[in-house]
């Protein structure tokens, strides 16, 4: 029956359906945040701190207010409600209060008739700063004598996991120290928003965000308004990758709109975008891995640190992820893993695709290669020997209940064909276009080329962990239109580009047997969808749409007079096919006869409950896991330090592919971001200041940097969840950095323990990153984020409770 239904409707589950937003996007008519426009709108501008750490002695705004075309110049004093906000903890000022803690922190905001007038007015604000000593190194933050970023100190969170006998002996040990740099999400569409004051004293906000309701929860208290007076609609997102999880211009735009009584638009330019959102945490990892002579992992000892920057953002969850995944996707009977996130005067770091995963995968996969060498084993064989499987116990004590096709992703990736050697002419020269660096960059003829192959496996949790109930609501309406039945879907699920909106229409088509499906714009007129992050929306929003569709089928059954035993829709005993309602394989009624009144069903999907960390970092922390393996083939010009990635092969576990083309798009795009971290992407900081906030100086992979990819989708449905889906967004990002740098090590024989790898590393002009030893373990009251012990107001947690 279910098969018949799926086949009966075109563009349902499992098809590479065209994107619902494809046509406006190729025409240039899709409205992004930066395209917003309103009659009589003003332009907002933000004055930001030029210092990493300073006391504000005074702010003088009178000259700015007197500037032409200026309607308002506001500082922290003018924030009508709560003056601080935050995603997980309210520790961040809407505008600086007496002190700035990072380069780029908002100090004042301006609204003027044009963007240029707003910028010029901001230049006329006189701020007197007294620079303070800055904490710009994550280990320095642990020094008891270091300046304190917040009243509760510099420790943001420490997670400690003790598993089995952490002193268990091993035959062979390998040690390593690894670093990764600060990466930027660099979504091409910059932050944009338009706040429109409403007659009821509230505000309507159109904005680039990943989670409308958590924004509202942070915005409303700062405006001194009840949440229902802050209505948010998604503005078109030109990518996000984590960078739109935190509030950026939302509160500023709303305050200015309420103050001036006119619509206010903000649009960040690229340099401001680099200052105005969080980044991927830089990391340091100290690791010792012990195994038997036969290559069984026995004991993993990891100390890791991430630099959270000046404010918490999502650092508490990132360090939890990094710590729980630090042993890799392997069975490890004994482990001691300590992860610390600290505050510094560096720019705040938070969510970016992979969310703590890429940093530890870079370390654990390098350690696996070291171990394979020490044992004289094939690195792929070593990984297969230790791979997690259903029933495996993780270092947190969590038992993997669902699917874990780790062997499959490894084997299928390893089996993909290797690229051929490049052809050479009769003199033995290669086409210069094929050399690392290409025609413009390579002055040689390929005399110093070395080829290398690297392999990496990794994994990621799907949806939120540690007891969060990040549910999603969907409202689905089925009605009779002029040309037949129409289904309408209304959720607050944010489309960042990953394709979730198309997926929701596919699910509704298959579930309802109706081809015409309309999507409402995501807004706060429906319940929370949770964030468009953590690879979670296909599962969560897809699950909610499925529940609502099944409620509609049951209502159709009731309207037709069919006896409706509990769970009939879930068991696919009732369905729509060819315009007929079918129950127990028999046509019951024509659909149009049942739709004299539309059917509206609102349902909420919750994933299974998880637990917070107990003693020893033990607990059922994560909902489920998605795995990926990648193999990179690189060529290095050892004279010039230039790299060409020749090919990347990938196999990724997605549970079930709702839209296979969309899934390979996620694998390829996620891989490119990992390639960026491997080879070029790093925010350069000097005394806490970002030195390269532009696309000229912050390098992103181009089409010349990205190699051809061959991808395998591994479908091993997750039991007990809608459609068996996991999610596809993140695993490839987690493994590609590790695989590419492994290939560089294979080609050059160098240690390369820091990503991104620079030309200087490849020709020996820069020594490997060194450490004088693992960072000390801080003395903390427990595994919760430290601000929580100090009564600092919670963010997401409040939302979960109110649900």
């Amino acid at each position: 029956m279910s098969q018949r239904v799926a086949e009966g409707v075109r563009q349902g589950i499992g098809e590479s359906v065209r994107r619902v937003d494809g046509i406006p996007k190729v025409r240039g008519s899709f409205a992004y945040g930066s395209d917003l426009w309103h009659e009589r709108m003003l332009w907002g501008h933000t004055l930001r701190s030029p210092h990493a750490h300073a006391r504000i002695r005074s702010i003088e705004v009178s000259k700015a207010i007197a500037a032409p075309g200026v309607l308002a110049v506001l500082t922290a004093e003018d924030v009508p409600g709560r003056k601080i906000y935050g995603l997980e903890f309210a520790d961040q000022p809407v505008m600086a209060i007496d002190r700035v803690r990072y380069h780029g922190e908002p100090v004042a905001i301006v609204a003027a008739e044009t963007p240029e007038l707003a910028r010029r007015a901001a230049d006329r604000i006189a701020v007197e700063y007294e620079p303070l000593p800055a904490v710009t190194d994550m280990e320095q933050a642990l020094d008891p004598d270091a300046p304190k970023l917040h009243d509760w100190g510099n420790i943001l969170r420490h997670v400690s996991i003790v598993h089995g006998d952490p002193d268990a002996p091993a035959d062979v040990w390998v040690e390593g120290y690894y670093e990764t740099g600060m990466q930027d999400q660099a979504a091409l569409g910059p932050e944009g928003g338009l706040a429109i004051p409403a007659d009821d004293g509230g505000v309507d906000l159109y904005v680039t965000t990943q989670w409308l309701h958590v924004d509202r929860q942070q915005i409303a208290p700062c405006l001194g308004l009840p949440e229902e007076k802050v209505r948010i609609t998604l503005a078109g997102l030109g990518g996000a990758f984590g960078s739109r999880e935190d509030v950026h211009l939302q509160i500023h735009a709303c305050i200015l709109a309420l103050r001036t009584g006119r619509p206010v638009k903000f649009m960040y330019g690229r340099p401001e975008s680099f200052l105005g959102h969080v980044h991927r945490h830089p990391s340091r990892v100290w690791s010792r891995v012990g195994a038997t002579r036969e290559g069984r992992l026995v004991n993993v000892q990891v100390r890791l640190m991430i630099d959270g920057g000046a404010y918490a953002s999502s650092s508490p969850a990132v360090i939890a992820n990094a710590t729980t995944f630090a042993a890799g996707p392997y069975e490890v009977p004994n482990a001691r893993i300590d992860g610390t996130a600290v505050y510094t005067n560096n720019p705040p770091c938070g969510a970016m695709r992979g969310f703590g995963g890429p940093q530890v995968a870079f370390a654990y996969e390098a350690q696996m290669d070291k171990l394979a060498r020490a044992l004289g084993m094939d690195p792929v064989e070593l990984r297969l020997k230790n791979a997690l499987k259903p029933g495996s116990v993780l270092p947190t004590g969590q038992v993997i209940r669902g699917s874990a096709p780790v062997r499959q992703v490894i084997e299928r990736c390893a089996a993909l064909p290797l690229p051929p050697e490049e052809p050479r002419d009769e003199r033995g020269h290669r086409d210069p276009l094929s050399l690392p660096g290409g025609v413009a960059g390579n002055v040689g003829r390929g005399e110093a080329l070395k080829r290398g192959v690297g392999f990496a496996v990794g994994y990621k949790n799907v949806a939120y962990s540690e007891g969060f109930d990040d549910s999603t609501e969907a409202r689905v309406t089925l009605s009779q239109g002029a040309d037949g039945p129409i289904a309408e879907i209304h959720t607050a699920a944010v489309e960042c580009g990953g394709g979730v909106h198309t997926i929701l229409t596919q699910i509704a088509r298959t579930e309802l047997g109706v081809e015409r499906v309309v999507l409402h714009p995501p807004d706060t007129g429906v319940g929370s969808a949770g964030s468009s992050s953590a690879s979670r929306l296909t599962l969560m929003a897809g699950g909610a749409v499925q529940l609502a569709c099944r409620a509609i089928l049951e209502e159709l059954g009731r309207r037709s007079g069919v006896a409706m035993p509990e769970g009939m829709a879930e068991a696919r005993q009732i369905a729509v096919e060819g315009g007929q309602l079918i129950a127990a394989d028999e046509p019951v009624a024509a659909l149009e006869d049942l739709l004299s009144e539309p059917i509206v069903m609102t349902r909420t999907y919750h994933h299974r409950p998880t637990e917070s960390f107990g003693p020893g970092g033990q607990g059922d922390i994560h909902v489920m896991f998605a795995f990926a393996a990648e193999r990179a083939v690189v060529e290095v010009d050892e004279d010039l330090g230039l790299v060409r990635v020749v090919q990347i092969a990938a196999a990724q576990d997605v549970g079930r592919a709702i839209n296979p083309q969309g899934v390979t798009g996620q694998i390829e795009g996620g891989t490119a971001q990992g390639l960026g971290l491997a080879l070029m992407e790093e925010l350069q900081l000097k005394d806490g200041r970002i030195m390269n906030p532009s696309f000229t100086d912050y390098l992103l992979p181009t089409i010349l940097d990205m190699p051809p990819m061959v991808s395998e989708i591994v479908e091993d449905p997750e039991p007990g969840v809608p459609l068996g889906v996991k999610g596809a967004g993140e695993p490839s990002t987690i493994v590609s950095t590790a695989a590419i740098v492994a290939a560089l090590r294979d080609a050059t024989g160098r240690e390369l323990n820091r990503a991104p790898v620079k030309p200087d590393d490849l020709v020996g002009l820069r020594a490997p990153a060194v450490s004088s030893g693992p960072a000390p373990i801080p003395d903390v009251p427990g595994p919760k984020p430290i601000p929580e012990y100090h009564g600092v107001g919670a963010g997401q947690q409040e939302l979960m409770k109110s649900d």
């Binding site: 190729v26 030109g238 990518g239 181009t702 990819m709």
Partner: protein, 154 residues
């Protein structure tokens, strides 16, 4: 200052600020937001348009430089309602995700194919190396170019 420019076949006038870029004039004064502003430094190609037939980053051209010139934007490609074959191919190949780079890439690919109807993969990569995409990893963009080439020949 008053600028007279032929945009997508129609003579238009805009009262633009002297420091305005062609991109700003198109987006803010002429109601053509299809060309995107992602870097304002000529690094990303999201604002690609034709200026007197030449492919340019409109963020690097002063509005004043376009005075009495002919400008074609992404909006010109599907003027009659029908999608251009390159636009069709981008959708079909799955080369669109967030879509922010898409208008610039579609202009750049259309320009490439007008000069070289069946380009090799290497020359496609060379031609599109000035267009950044953060979502796709470029594989499906290459697929779209091949599809477009077939569609335009066929």
């Amino acid at each position: 200052m008053l600028i007279r420019v032929n945009v997508n076949g129609e003579w238009r006038e805009a009262d633009a600020w002297e420091g305005s870029s062609l991109l700003s004039m198109l987006r803010d004064d002429l109601g053509l937001p299809g060309s995107k502003n992602a870097c304002e430094q000529g690094e990303c190609g999201s604002c690609s348009v034709w200026l007197d037939g030449d492919l340019v980053c409109s963020c690097l051209v002063l509005a004043a430089q376009a005075h009495e010139c002919e400008v074609r934007t992404v909006e010109s490609l599907s003027g009659g309602g029908e999608l251009h074959p390159v636009q069709e191919a981008f959708i079909e190949a799955g080369a669109v995700q967030c879509g922010f780079c898409t208008p610039g890439l579609i202009v750049a690919v259309t320009d490439l194919l007008s000069h070289n109807p069946s380009p090799s993969e290497a020359s496609v990569r060379e031609a599109l190396s000035g267009n950044l995409c953060r979502c796709t990893g470029y594989q499906k963009i290459l697929d779209a170019v091949q599809l477009s080439a077939k569609g335009m020949i066929g």
